[in-house]
Symmetry: D2
Subunit: 346 residues, 4 copies
Amino acid sequence: MAESTTATIVGGSGFAGGELLRLLAGHPDFEVAQATSREYANKTVGSVHPNLREMDLRFTPPTDLESVDVLFAAAPHGVAMDHLDEWQDAADTVVDLSADFRLETESQYDEWYDGHSAPEYLDDAVYALPELSREELYGADLIAGGGCNATATILGLLPLAEAGLLDDAHVVVDVKVGSSEGGAGGGPASSHPERSGVVRPYAPTGHRHEAEIEQFLGLSVSFTAHAVDMVRGASATCHVFPEETPSTGDLWSAYRETYEDEPFVDIVAGGSGVYRYPEPKAVAGTNGAEVGFELDEDNGRVVAFSAIDNMMKGSAGQAVHAANVALGFDETAGLDQLGLHPVGSP
Amino acid sequence: MAESTTATIVGGSGFAGGELLRLLAGHPDFEVAQATSREYANKTVGSVHPNLREMDLRFTPPTDLESVDVLFAAAPHGVAMDHLDEWQDAADTVVDLSADFRLETESQYDEWYDGHSAPEYLDDAVYALPELSREELYGADLIAGGGCNATATILGLLPLAEAGLLDDAHVVVDVKVGSSEGGAGGGPASSHPERSGVVRPYAPTGHRHEAEIEQFLGLSVSFTAHAVDMVRGASATCHVFPEETPSTGDLWSAYRETYEDEPFVDIVAGGSGVYRYPEPKAVAGTNGAEVGFELDEDNGRVVAFSAIDNMMKGSAGQAVHAANVALGFDETAGLDQLGLHPVGSP
Amino acid sequence: MAESTTATIVGGSGFAGGELLRLLAGHPDFEVAQATSREYANKTVGSVHPNLREMDLRFTPPTDLESVDVLFAAAPHGVAMDHLDEWQDAADTVVDLSADFRLETESQYDEWYDGHSAPEYLDDAVYALPELSREELYGADLIAGGGCNATATILGLLPLAEAGLLDDAHVVVDVKVGSSEGGAGGGPASSHPERSGVVRPYAPTGHRHEAEIEQFLGLSVSFTAHAVDMVRGASATCHVFPEETPSTGDLWSAYRETYEDEPFVDIVAGGSGVYRYPEPKAVAGTNGAEVGFELDEDNGRVVAFSAIDNMMKGSAGQAVHAANVALGFDETAGLDQLGLHPVGSP
Amino acid sequence: MAESTTATIVGGSGFAGGELLRLLAGHPDFEVAQATSREYANKTVGSVHPNLREMDLRFTPPTDLESVDVLFAAAPHGVAMDHLDEWQDAADTVVDLSADFRLETESQYDEWYDGHSAPEYLDDAVYALPELSREELYGADLIAGGGCNATATILGLLPLAEAGLLDDAHVVVDVKVGSSEGGAGGGPASSHPERSGVVRPYAPTGHRHEAEIEQFLGLSVSFTAHAVDMVRGASATCHVFPEETPSTGDLWSAYRETYEDEPFVDIVAGGSGVYRYPEPKAVAGTNGAEVGFELDEDNGRVVAFSAIDNMMKGSAGQAVHAANVALGFDETAGLDQLGLHPVGSP
């Protein structure tokens, strides 16, 4: 039996850190060496993540990093750019789930974030979404996880982009997300009495994920995000107006062409029963994405749908998938969870 | 003291019928004479609607109509067109909450519905939304309630239309609705295990409410509706691309111009705190509508938001409001309920 | 027309303060003079409570109290005992919604709370629940609102107590409550991701409301409270083992005897349809209480159910009801809201 | 590699059938030969269960049973007793998830159900809960799955029974369950608008699961069940009044003694953080049970808590666990799913 690959999780007490712990605990090739948490140092991981009560591991302070093969960082935006040197000293491969290395140029960070303290690494970073960057991921040593809303949007639109249907197209993206996007801290808007039952526009315009979408799809989209009442999940409805309206057959060809060999993407477009289009709850807890479409001939519109679990395909699952590719493991290793049915608002 | 105006509610055991009962029970000018229900005839209204347990009224069969001043009909689509003669014999004024008299021409019913059995009445009917049709409502004897999704959309876009900003504009409408839209019956997709926690595209294209929107705003919109996890509420996010991009000041002027004297519409656009844009839960249980907007200069886009309670402003409340106008009552009579805070998913 | 009674609300930005504002805004006899908030001083009440956007009132600092007729205090426990002198200088009648004056003796505060700084007032205070203390409330100048869980429990058990069925009985009370009980602040346990979908024992034993229950019913109960997924509502299931098992007829007599003249209490015990026993959502947003029961002959048990809206009958509604009694107003003035059907998790 | 054990799932389109499919799809020792459904015959399992879209299997009519090693039956109560002969012809081992073989004697079925059509098999059946019946399960050929509420209750109380603390004890069991207990069909009470946000007593007295609890624990309990707003989960709060009050140390000893070697039961009793007592959402999607307790010395009460996923430990997971024991597989085979954190109302 091969020796396990060792991993450290920086920021292990947050939601994404907990998901990394869950995934690596069931991963055949990884062994978790450390999970760090300033606030919960020396406490068991199960004291924060009730699903991990059986796991025999305590948080360590983030200052005591052991040497490992892979370091997964699930820290707030801005931390990775300040600690990358230190992390690269501790690990051969760094997978950062924050926004710090997603964009390609310093000027993008100047425009969309508060600048960047380590722009010299931007060139090295590979975007974690294998559906976009599988080739570059092989052997990569700095991997940057995509944003959850950007991931949902990119997956929904990628077949159209590859089929040339986005050239000079007009695109509106209307996203609905769950409360776990706000992280474990949360503020007043995230408290249960205020957050329950909402349809709340929280980023009407200017959402930072627009930058990633534009970077990878090569077009500017009109993006608006809403909070809805679920915990996990991101759903993107993309209203696309191509220069020339495709047929439904063209759309099926485009989606199949892009995704037929992808292990984590299902095309769900019509059919019978309750679940005829992509829904986040159908993929909750899994690394799966559902994409689908409907043609609106009257308006010359393609409605492209995409649904993911923001904590999985939109964060921790994507990171593990990318690491699997980078290290040459089976792509689905540790990511073969099936979703649940029925399921409420996971 | 003036004599009360008598009212019959046809279809009193459904959700909209129950709302009509609640509203008329608290209305200073109306007295409920009858509420009909085939299934629950002779049972108390409180046996179906637990909020009306104190009300001393039993359902009557729909065949025994007394003479009253106003008949409110909350029957499924298609019933009103077959029974209008009979209802007009029983009442001076008929307010129909179904789709049967919303559209102006028989050809629209041929296109969007299954035709029409009483097209000769289409000319007489006045659309129930006073923000659109106040003048025509005075003294009207056939009033047609608007669709909930159409109402939300029209209210969000009306100021832009009146300001000329929809001329040759491109408009995408992305709607999110609660489960009460499915009515009291519901099918498998409406069962709690399947319907909880959803973001489910249920009308990706071709929603019938497009016809009403086009009829009143004079332009075709690209419309998509999603089911989300709330019981009451309809929220419309309208992505509008005018020929020339207005300023934020232009938008404020337009919305104030349209709504400054409207008793049921609030403009909510920015500001501080948790509730900065329209949200259905802020108006749940009330006849209020919240409308708001945000300018996306980069994309030449106006994002117009609108939120209503689909059972109230989108159905029963709108009907009572229209009747108030038609009969010369105070417009807000019986409709002065305040919403709740905090509130979950009402 | 009589002059209005003026009222100040101390702690107007919290959930209970917001409810007081909503109720007094619609009350025929009260006029709100002030609502205080340290944090939101000078902001509109609508900036915190979206349901009150139409209300033309700004918060004032809690230090600038005007002279009014009635002061309602919705401050955290411990504040009232330190400020009562000041409040009584400003108002003829003080209605305190906290726990500070609910119990009768200093020793109870020593046992269940952290002592009391103004025990000399305990004798004067009248418990706000008119079903218990109507006679004492007439003309009272210090009124102490009951705890929400205690209120639900007392209302469910009172008929049994009055019928002698609690003498030497054994009583288990299992309570389920919504997230609004945690108040507007909330901590990690109240964040939406952690609080959604829970059935969480939060007070397995030793809940402070036991003291009130014992004080009024004269017996010790075994009390356990659970958080469940709703925003408003408290539901008490009381498992009662009387010395001698009554008949169902005895129970109907007992409940009718106690509540037949009570304007806010409905008996819901069996029958047909969906809503056969008390449910918090049937009374959400109202001052109503539903009580009911079922006899378990095999086990010599009476199961008594009680459901209220914790923000209303369990807090602000109870306070206004008590003030109505104390000042000689119609008991239901300002409290005639009907609940909603359908309604989700209000 | 050993040959797989073949399995048929009767009733594969229901919720429990879907869970069996999910579990067996990931089980190292089983291979699904057939899943039957009258209504969905010839449709893919993924057309009903969206989490199983990748599974290459179509439902077969229930009349065409192949020979297999194990037949799992997830049919409504009453079907198994009429078809057992046929099923035993088709399979060496039958695991029935209904109530048909849970009780030991015909007279129990006469008392609690509508009698029994095949009482001669009652003696052969082994109850599926390995924590109760591990020894009898080895080699069993007829296994009867426990009821979800009974399972939750029994697991919470078993340590007390084994420690003698239930001898002559008085026990109240207050259960809260999710909507999946109502099955895939559902009626009006299960529709989303009526079922959302509830705390609804649905079985105040006389719940059939009392029979199982009494059968295994040897005492009659006072049982009441409530519907609450979650999809999966059953939570039992057991209020136990032993003849002599134990110490907290006694309780820890009792629970550890019973469960220290059990792979699926965790003791959660106090500690810090948000998750200090058993909660169904912490085990949702898994075969785990959480049990815990708190001592209420003032009332001589032990409050015992228990939480399971009703579809898993309370149904399909329990069945697979029992089959693992019966066939000599690793007990946790196919049942090593970890729960999710955060998670809403799974």
